[in-house]
């Protein structure tokens, strides 16, 4: 009998076979540094050179920095706005269609607006990410306040909780699982928007390096960075899956007896 981790490793490797064999065929049949399909070994060489320059480390740091700040800001803003809109009926009535129309704007086209208003700066990139990714969290919070069990609010009222207590002790804890689902949705979106902003503004981030490689017809560099982007995306996805499982499983907190 194989131990369980070996078994799952075996399964992962089996599942990876198509990619591995594709890369091997590519390596065997490609004619070196072609401008369209360079062999995978050339990707590694291009990456090695970027590493020696220190370009790739800097790019990863830069991309992560913008992505992280943007995500944190949009999460906090989205969550608090969602609570305000969800709880405050009047406010919601007045702003419904305004928010609906903001949401209808495809996230990427916010970039040119931000460029015009704020120029090429880090704060511009962060504003773009926040505007593009705030909606899933906000909407999930609002709709989960709508669908809250009416007994919860009645119970709070029966206990004579003040408005503030009702929000902090009843509403917020009950919307947290849904808010986490919203965050889970925004993470891939935030990655896409970060890369796109970098491509359009030609920064030193990962997107910027890719576009620079394409402009110089340095195809191995483009493929190499594409692999790095894929690996980073995979890890961020795995981490957010794990976080989601962790939070939704351990929420609401078990009562200590």
């Amino acid at each position: 009998m194989m131990p369980i981790y070996l078994k799952s490793l075996y399964r992962v490797i089996l599942g990876l076979l198509p990619i591995i064999s594709l890369l091997m065929i590519w390596q065997l049949f490609s004619d070196g540094p072609s401008p369209h399909f360079p062999a995978p070994s050339y990707w590694l060489m291009a990456l090695e050179q970027l590493w020696k320059n220190g370009q790739i480390q800097f790019a990863i740091k830069e991309t992560f920095w913008i992505f992280g700040i943007g995500l944190i800001l949009s999460t906090t803003l989205g969550f608090s706005l969602g609570i305000i809109i969800g709880v405050n009926r009047k406010f919601r009535e007045w702003t419904t269609y305004s928010f609906e129309s903001f949401r209808a704007i495809p996230p990427p086209v916010v970039i040119p607006i931000a460029v015009l208003l704020m120029g090429y700066s880090d704060s511009m990139k962060i504003v773009v990410i926040v505007f593009a990714t705030i909606w899933p969290i906000l909407l999930n919070v609002v709709s989960s306040i709508d669908n809250m069990h009416s007994g919860l609010v009645d119970m709070g009222k029966a206990l004579h909780l003040s408005q503030k207590q009702l929000i902090f002790k009843v509403v917020i804890p009950s919307v947290i699982p849904n808010a986490i689902i919203g965050i889970r949705v925004t993470i891939p979106l935030a990655i896409v928007i970060t890369l796109l902003t970098e491509m359009l503004t030609g920064s030193n981030g990962l997107g910027g390096i890719m576009i620079a490689g394409q402009r110089n017809y340095n195809s191995s560099q483009v493929y190499g960075v594409l692999v790095i982007v894929g690996i980073l995306g995979l890890f961020i996805n795995l981490a957010s899956n794990y976080l989601e499982k962790y939070f939704t499983k351990s929420w609401p907190p078990k009562q200590q007896l």
């Binding site: 015009l116 491509m199 894929g230």
Partner: protein
């Protein structure tokens, strides 16, 4: 999933939009001078001008055509692969991890590759649309097939259907609701990715027009194009949700919208 529970028009909501526009107008006209943030009325006027241009409609047609073509290809490929994955254990065994690895790959990252391979062309745009739009269809088809109740397999076996009839008459109809959700997600994704691809490198379409007007420092035109794509987005989503509701049995699917959005 919307802010309003009942879908009837809310007077206050509309008033809110007009108030917002009014304050924007006042702010720009009287309080601060922003060179690059035009007043809503100025945007409206240049939008009217654009409406008379032939080029404007051609750009809309180009974007819609690219999005639809990409969506069709992605849908067929996604349904086909999803069926294979859902029905064949061996195929699943040998490809599942590869798919899990490929799925979180951000679609924009393929734009430079597309530029390298195809240059500034429709093909590059299609590559950037199809790759991300494939996954929602694929995953939802697979999920729909996997969740078919066991008893249906017994029915199929006892009816002695051919393989084709099995898939066409039993499996696809019973996974229909889930497949439709995937198709819908991937259509809105296709439109967005079409605009993205045009922004990075296709000398045609709305995305390119937005960037062109931005670089030409014509913010009124840029905003007009942005509102155009937003309107198209709303209209297509509305149309599709109507179609999906008509096609799918049981409760309206609009509630399934939760796990939507861009990858």
């Amino acid at each position: 999933m919307t802010f309003v529970k009942n879908s009837s028009l809310s007077f206050r909501g509309i008033a809110g939009v007009f108030l917002f526009l009014f304050f924007w107008e006042i702010l720009i006209r009287f309080l601060i001078q922003f060179d690059n943030l035009p007043a809503p009325s100025a945007i409206l006027f240049s939008w009217f001008d654009l409406l008379t241009l032939k080029q404007y409609w051609e750009e809309i047609a180009h974007t819609l055509f690219a999005a639809m073509l990409g969506w069709t290809v992605a849908s067929f490929a996604g349904i086909f692969l999803g069926l294979l994955l859902g029905l064949s254990k061996t195929f699943y065994k040998y490809t599942s991890t590869s798919i899990e690895v490929m799925r979180p790959w951000p679609g924009v990252a393929f734009a430079p590759i597309g530029l390298l391979l195809f240059g500034f062309s429709l093909k590059m745009e299609l590559l950037v649309i199809i790759l991300p739009a494939l996954w929602p269809v694929l995953v939802n088809t697979m999920g729909g097939i996997v969740n078919i109740p066991k008893s249906l397999y017994e029915v199929v076996a006892s009816l002695r259907l051919t393989n084709f009839a099995k898939i066409y008459k039993v499996f696809i109809p019973s996974a229909k609701a889930s497949i439709l959700v995937g198709l819908r997600i991937s259509l809105s994704l296709s439109i967005i990715m079409a605009v993205v691809a045009e922004m990075i490198g296709s000398p045609n379409g709305i995305g390119y027009a937005i960037i062109r007007e931005q670089q030409a420092m014509k913010p009124t035109n840029m905003f007009a194009y942005i509102f155009t794509i937003a309107l198209i987005n709303v209209f297509i989503n509305y149309l599709l949700s109507k179609i999906v509701d008509r096609l799918s049995p049981g409760k309206p699917t609009s509630r399934l919208n939760q796990k939507v959005l861009v990858q």
